[in-house]
């Protein structure tokens, strides 16, 4: 469990993680909240085990998946918080500019009287 999460610091790692279609597919596969083994994740993907491990590593670096052990199996689970934070950054910055530009437009509109 990650402690302090700063939206601006994590957004970059999340954007990078989700820039790859295979990783987006993995995130969506995990999206129902279940914990899944690598074999199950690789089932419908033309991926070597090594490539899958690499992709899961990138997702782990972004805090998007955590892994646990159940007996001899490794299970991966989606952690949606970084997605929320990246989306929050986009929304926050976009929203701030919408407000500012609205005021800017008003300056010119007011001038016409």
């Amino acid at each position: 469990m990650r402690l302090e999460q700063n939206p601006s610091d994590d957004a970059g790692a999340v954007f990078f993680a989700l820039a790859d279609p295979t990783r987006r597919h993995l995130v969506q596969t995990l999206g129902d909240g279940s914990s899944v083994t690598p074999s199950a994740l690789a089932a419908n993907l033309p991926l070597t085990r090594q490539a899958l491990t690499k992709h899961l590593g990138v997702l782990g670096d972004a805090g998007l998946v955590t892994k646990t052990r159940a007996g001899r199996e490794t299970l991966y689970t989606l952690e949606p918080e970084p997605l929320t934070e990246a989306a929050a950054w986009i929304a926050s910055v976009g929203g701030a500019w919408d407000e500012r530009l609205g005021r800017l437009e008003s300056l010119f509109a007011d001038r016409r009287g």
Binding site: F15, V27, G31, I90, S106
Partner: protein, 138 residues
């Protein structure tokens, strides 16, 4: 480990068509008193390359900035940072429109680690938004 590329950034873009000439718009981007009417509550702004700027917002947040690009009536850019946060770069572009008026484009970006070109972020951000909605509704 992913390659660290500071020249790749995630960005938010906004455009507006303003009923004013590029010169008039430029004034609202570079004059401290005008900036304080729309961008922030209080502004100090040295509109020269390498100039310092300081912004105070309505919610009390303050940011310090350094202006890196000043191309008269065309492009203005600075990097700003609030205490304890990552820096963001703001770029403002002005284009005169044939029918009159000025198109203003604002891009605010942050550095990120990536091997994908910046132009590919559009579809990814759309996926991100839809994925986020489906997760929070679950």
């Amino acid at each position: 480990m992913p390659e660290d590329r500071d020249n790749e950034r995630s960005a938010v873009t906004r455009e507006r068509t303003l009923d004013a000439s590029p010169a008039e718009v430029w004034a609202t981007l570079t004059d401290e008193i005008l900036l304080a009417q729309w961008l922030a509550a209080e502004v100090e702004f040295d509109a020269r390359e390498g100039g310092d700027a300081h912004f105070e917002f309505d919610d009390g947040e303050t940011r310090d900035a350094e202006v890196d690009t000043v191309e008269l009536e065309e492009r203005l850019a600075w990097t700003w940072r609030a205490d304890g946060e990552d820096a963001g770069r703001v770029e403002l572009r002005l284009e005169p429109l044939e029918a009159g008026g000025t198109r203003l484009t604002v891009i605010e970006s942050r550095p990120m680690r990536s091997s994908a070109p910046a132009t590919e972020w559009g579809p990814m951000l759309t996926s991100l938004a839809s994925m986020h909605s489906s997760l929070v509704c679950a």
